[in-house]
Amino acid sequence: MRDLFWLIPFPPAASALALILFGRFLSRKWVTIQACGSVLVSFLLSIFSFAGLFGSAGESLPWIKILSPWIKAGAFGADFGFQFDPLSAVMVLVVTGVGLLIHVYSVGYMAHDKGYTRYFAYLNLFMFAMLLLVLASNMVLMFVGWEGVGLCSYLLIGFWFERKSASAAGKKAFIVNRIGDAGFLLGLLFLLTIVGSSDFTAINGAVRGGTIGGGLATLIALLLFVGATGKSAQIPLYIWLPDAMEGPTPVSALIHAATMVTAGVYMVARLNVLFGASGSAGDVVAIIGAATAVFAATMALTQNDIKRVLAYSTISQLGYMFLGCGVGAYAAGVFHLATHAFFKSLLFLSAGSVIHALSGEQDMRKMGGLRKYLPRTYPPFLVGAIAISGVPFLSGFFSKDAILTSAFAQGKTILWALGLAGAIMTAFYMFRLIFMTFHGPERISEEAKSHLHESPKVMTVPLAILAVFSIIAGYVGLPAILGEKADLFRRFLAPVISPAAEARALSIGAEGLLILASAGAAFLGIFVAYLFYIRSPHLPQALADRLPFVHKLLYNKYYVDEAVGAVVIRPLIRGSDLVYSGFDLKVIDGAINGSAAAAGFFGKALSFLQTGFVKDYAFAFLLGVALILGVFLF
């Protein structure tokens, strides 16, 4: 399979191209088969390539396939090159696996949409860009995927572009991401000029050889991390992701939860040698990650839109992944990336099923008691909620605990405590969501109730499959307490992760206590949610009345969007307006028009010299030439 891994991105690319060019001539059935089939082919190729890794013991990693040179300009160059190693394997499996299920689910979800073909064209294009991103062997080509997924995100957030909010959200996502990309590009330019190449192997070599180290490594790592804060929605560039929920729900599941938003985590893990060479870059990553994890979780506490809760939850969980990478536990960060892909896409798709059932209703205040109407949606939704809350023996527990344990082991006690606090909140807001949606009294509008129906199998079967993975995926990364070899995931990734960057081991007793703390956090959060939304439903309102300021602040998401508007966007527009009318039109054009007027004045004053236009021109012209020649020559 060694020779075929580079083919993985291309089936969806071919499908997307065909759909864009000939989509209008294709039947809906054929569109479905082609779009899903192409992703299936990629998925199978990924499995074969993954299997190939085990058969290639002793071979040098990564596998590299250079298709052809791409850019060449002086010392600057980049190839169409692909590479495959355990990290790529994890990513392509997650992307194509989850991607395939979401393609299938979309067949049901988008069945009645006029833009069916366009939808699948964009979704296929996204798969191509995402796979390119994780398989590229150099950072310039990776950047093509990086911006390519951004484009697809833009197109799919604004899929229903007739809605003003959707088109505005798409634009916002693209521009905010571009801010991150500007930083990323500067980091890339540093690498290109210093290393002379952007191949990952060359970059690792340059760092290990000492060409890049110390402050320079920190600077480059942080510039690249700016890009990650944009793509992976971390403080301060997270503001686009909640708005991105304007897109169709399967898109939120695939792009804005499971895959694209994890690109920043992938990038940091891919460059772990560089990040590890810098002392403080890792700290910044960890602090931003932990801060985002808690900050976003607080905003999720009070949201009433089911998708917005999940959006803030995604931002928060991405924060955990960065926390893991930042403290050197790259394997744990990537592990959480993988488990999160399962349970978060499960949550989004289940939420989609609820929304679908309620004819588009997203406000949880108008739900409640849906358990009995949606018997095939409720169980997987519950599994997802338990998994993300960190209840023991489901996937989220293992991966989150691995991150928190590593943070503690690295002596970052404050970050660990923040992570634990976030974990309590996570369990709380998830079960708040479950209780408000599926339990308690029905608050469904008559209109929605008359159409209420369980979703078709094409949607619920993917939910069941994802639920199974949300339960079992954790067992590939068991905690070290069960033995040195228990963490299969970490051992699998070991060839990619620089050993110096790994966390040191704790005593068995300490680790046991940490695990108990994690489990306790989950149960505490769930219990409080039960208290608030089942036992004493008046409590939330009472608390909001007692702390009106805090409630308002959280409910309005700390007024960050308003602040950005007031401090950045409006001043920029007003300022530019002022400069335009004040400087461009008055000063520059004023000078021009003024000199024209002056010329007119002198022209009139000297009109006794005037004999005719052409002569005037010629005379002035010759005079000027003679004058200048005179100055220089004589």
């Binding site: 040179p69 300009a73 911006e147 390519g148 007739e162 500067l186 330019l189 540093f190 520059i588 030439v625």
Partner: protein
């Protein structure tokens, strides 16, 4: 070369323009058919240049040289890696521009076509001339048809716009002519022979004071044409008033005459002066990038938005030119081509909208995508190309430019990357307001989608955008040798050979085996 290919390409449009005079003026199909046929033939001929071009050779190829007026004034044309693709861009766009004018130009069709053909001759001459005086003649010749194109077929404020356009450009070019005469006489004083050959001239080393003045004379003419901040205010006016076809050529090709002028003349002839002014020039470019972007953000008219985006994009091109290294120079040339395609396509798109709505104000539109899905796709690709999205041409140019700038000065590069953000902001915001959202204006509901003719104009540009984004080496490979030699020349100028012992404003630099021109 046995066949005078370059002269053929240059003067075929002129000959066709003369012939057109004798055509009946109301036979629209015949007139268009003839003009289109000629421009397509010119494009086909210019493809011979592409395929016959020797990538390994740094110097000019397909050279033709004959005596003309004496005093060093020769008819001397040739094409090298710097000018090759600018020539191709011109010949490629001309048929598309004519095709796009089919329904826009309703009166005086014959004259319109004549001026378009004259314009092509003028532009091609500018890119092909290797003699300073010949260059000047074409430079001015290209101005005249554009003057009429805006002045006759322009919008309401066309008189103001044309006056501004002419005053700005004339102001620059007259000083340049004086400088050319000065160079000619300096050369004669130093060598006893006349030569206005650009390569001979580039070997003359002038004292710093002279270089400064002459550079300013040339530089002003070019800076106005680019246009560099603060000489840019003629551009939005000219664009807003110009008919679609003229706008496309103005943005796509005419502006490149300015940046090309720096590469071919101002920098090789006066390298010390350039070095001296480098900080000032670079800062002006940076201001152009950011200022142009911010101004584009707030424009109400789509055309002036695109015009200000040109100021911003050309700012990056010039910043890369002033990086004076191989990557920056290659990137600048590449980005000149990209800007030609993307801005040309944007103006084409605005023209398509204007022909339906008879307005270009952003606020008059909204939700057009729903009514014109095919157009929406083309327009979006043009927008993304202009915003430098990877996979399309703009990205290759932008990152190569930024690489060159970064290698020359990291602070400049850090400021220049704002173009990524601003570009996305003004373009996507405009796209959102015009194409997306609910349909705000009932007239929009009656817009037909693109016609086959319009698709035929747009599609070749889009194909090229992808091609240049995916396979840039098909283009950079031909530029490489000339650009490397160019950078080597300006960087290697410390090898100065003093020709005369007496104090003279002039000395010569020579390679060991080279001789003075005779």
């Amino acid at each position: 070369m046995s066949m005078p290919l370059l002269s053929l390409i240059t003067f075929l449009p002129l000959a066709a323009a003369v012939l057109l005079i004798f055509f009946p003026k109301d036979r629209k199909r015949l007139l268009y058919g003839f003009a289109l046929g000629v421009t397509v033939a010119v494009f086909a001929a210019s493809l011979i240049l592409y395929f016959g071009f020797d990538s390994a050779a740094a110097g000019p190829q397909f050279v033709e040289r004959t005596a003309w007026l004496g005093f060093g004034i020769q008819y001397h044309v040739g094409v090298d890696g710097i000018s090759l693709f600018l020539v191709l861009l011109t010949t490629f766009l001309l048929p598309l521009v004519l095709l796009s004018s089919w329904s826009y130009i309703r009166e005086r069709i014959k004259e319109y076509l004549i001026f378009m053909l004259l314009l092509e001759t003028g532009i091609l001459g500018v890119f092909l001339s290797l003699n300073l005086f010949l260059f000047y003649v074409f430079w001015e010749a290209a101005l005249i048809p554009m003057y009429f194109l805006i002045g006759i077929w322009g919008g309401k404020r066309r008189v103001y716009a044309t006056m501004k356009f002419v005053l700005f450009t004339m102001a620059g070019s007259l000083l340049m002519l004086a400088a050319i005469f000065t160079l000619s006489s300096l050369f004669f004083k130093a060598t006893g022979t006349y030569s206005l050959n650009v390569f001979d001239q580039a070997r003359m080393v002038l004292n710093p004071r002279l270089q400064t003045w002459l550079f300013l004379a040339f530089g002003l003419a070019f800076a106005i044409k680019v246009p560099m901040f603060p000489f840019h205010t003629w551009l939005p006016d000219a664009h807003v008033e110009a008919p679609t076809g003229a706008s496309i050529l103005l943005a796509a090709v005419l502006l490149k005459m300015g940046s090309y002028g720096f590469l071919r003349f101002a920098i090789p002839l006066f390298p010390d002066a350039v070095e001296r002014f480098l900080p000032v020039l670079s800062v002006l470019c940076l201001i152009g990038i950011i200022y142009g972007g911010l101004m584009a953000l707030i424009q109400k008219d789509i055309k002036s938005l695109v015009a200000y985006s040109s100021v911003s994009h050309m700012g990056l091109v010039m910043l890369a030119v002033f990086s004076l290294n191989v990557e920056g120079t290659l990137g600048a040339i590449y980005q000149m081509l990209n800007h030609g395609l993307s801005t040309g396509a944007l103006f084409l798109a605005v023209g398509i909208l204007y022909e339906r709505a008879h307005t270009r104000l952003i606020r008059d539109f909204g939700g057009v995508s729903k009514q014109m899905p095919v157009f929406s796709a083309f327009f979006l690709i043009a927008v993304l190309s202009s915003a430098g999205l990877p996979g399309l041409n703009g990205f290759i140019g932008e990152i190569t430019c930024l690489y060159g700038v970064f290698a020359a000065n990291k602070v400049y590069a850090a400021l220049a990357v704002t173009t990524l953000i601003l570009g996305a902001a003004y373009l996507l915001w405009m796209f959102q307001r015009v194409m997306q959202g609910p349909v705000t204006n009932e007239k929009i509901l009656s817009f037909p989608d693109m016609s086959w003719r319009e698709i035929a104009c747009f599609a070749p540009i889009v194909v090229l955008m992808f091609w240049m984004g995916i396979a840039p080496r098909a283009f950079t490979g031909k530029m490489d040798a000339s650009v490397t030699a160019y950078v080597h020349r300006i960087k290697g100028r410390e090898r100065v050979f003093v020709q005369k012992a007496v104090p003279s404003p002039v000395s010569f630099r020579l390679d060991a085996e080279e001789r003075l021109p005779r």
